[in-house]
């Protein structure tokens, strides 16, 4: 009889513990990207089979005509106005993009 009562109490405790294994309420549901799906049918096989598609025929291409030499402009050096103006423009654009993003975030 005592054994029966003890077994019953233990079973009850186990039931209570099992029931309290709920989802923790303080977990963050962080949105995450879905896992990439592996498409098994697209994976390459190690050896080609008899039913594989035949090698593509490479058509004989005609000899390409020489491309006329373009008028090459000399690259701007650090002594050139154009180089530094371009650098300034790139930096200012980058800064302005960040400031616009911050503007949206700050809710102005």
């Amino acid at each position: 009889m005592k054994n029966l009562i003890l077994a019953g109490a233990l079973l009850g405790l186990l039931l209570l513990l099992a029931g309290c294994q709920g989802e923790p309420s303080d977990t963050e549901h962080v949105a995450s990207l879905p896992l990439p799906q592996v498409r098994v049918d697209k994976l390459p096989t190690a050896t080609p089979t008899a039913t594989s598609t035949p090698e593509p025929e490479i058509a004989e291409t005609p000899t390409p005509t020489p491309i006329p030499q373009a008028q090459m402009q000399p690259m701007p050096t650090r002594d050139d106005e154009a180089f530094w103006l371009a650098q300034i423009e790139i930096l200012l654009d980058r800064i302005e993009r960040r400031l616009n993003a911050l503007d949206r975030d700050l809710g102005r």
Partner: protein
């Protein structure tokens, strides 16, 4: 008879426990966080407060990048002025513009000291940015948001003025 009574009581006890566990545990697991009011922010849950804090930290880092790029821009301007001097061109308006620009950057950096202090203090949050004190955390967010806006205004003005001065210089060259 006594055994039967005891057994029936045990079965009844199990049934009661199973029913109560089935009712209570989902309620514990799925209780939504309470949204508590914060002056200046309205009602927010702890998760929302944490996300808002992390967003402000990201904005602060973004402003750090802007200031870093601003220094690079000022250096590029100085190199450009040097090129113009070698060509015996009068680059005085650009020198004034760069000097003004440096002034704005310094002003922005001084204003950021307060935001840096607030983030370092991290009042209301623990080291993983979880909420320790709801009201204190909300106040930290309100304070740092005000400072970020102030720095943003200074940087915005700095770049607007620099663009204006550069465009005026380039137009002068074409006139």
């Amino acid at each position: 008879m006594r055994k039967f009574k005891l057994l029936s009581m045990i079965v009844l006890l199990f049934t009661l426990m199973a029913v109560s566990v089935a009712e209570i545990s989902p309620a514990i697991a799925k209780t939504p966080e309470p949204a508590r009011p914060i002056p200046g922010l309205g009602k927010m849950t702890d998760t929302e407060l944490r996300n808002a804090w992390l967003k402000r930290r990201a904005m602060y880092d973004s402003q750090s990048e802007v200031i870093r790029d601003a220094y690079r821009t000022a250096e590029a301007f100085e190199a450009y002025i040097e090129v113009m001097r070698k060509k015996h061109d009068d680059a005085y308006p650009l020198e004034v513009a760069v000097s003004k620009y440096y002034g704005y950057i310094r002003e922005a950096e001084l204003a950021r000291v307060e935001a840096n202090r607030i983030f370092t203090h991290n009042a209301g949050f623990n080291t993983n940015y979880y909420i320790l004190d709801h009201q204190l955390a909300g106040q930290s967010i309100v304070d740092v948001h005000g400072n970020l806006k102030q720095v943003h205004f200074i940087l915005f003005e700095a770049h607007r003025e620099l663009r204006k001065d550069l465009n005026a210089w380039l137009r002068r060259g074409r006139d």
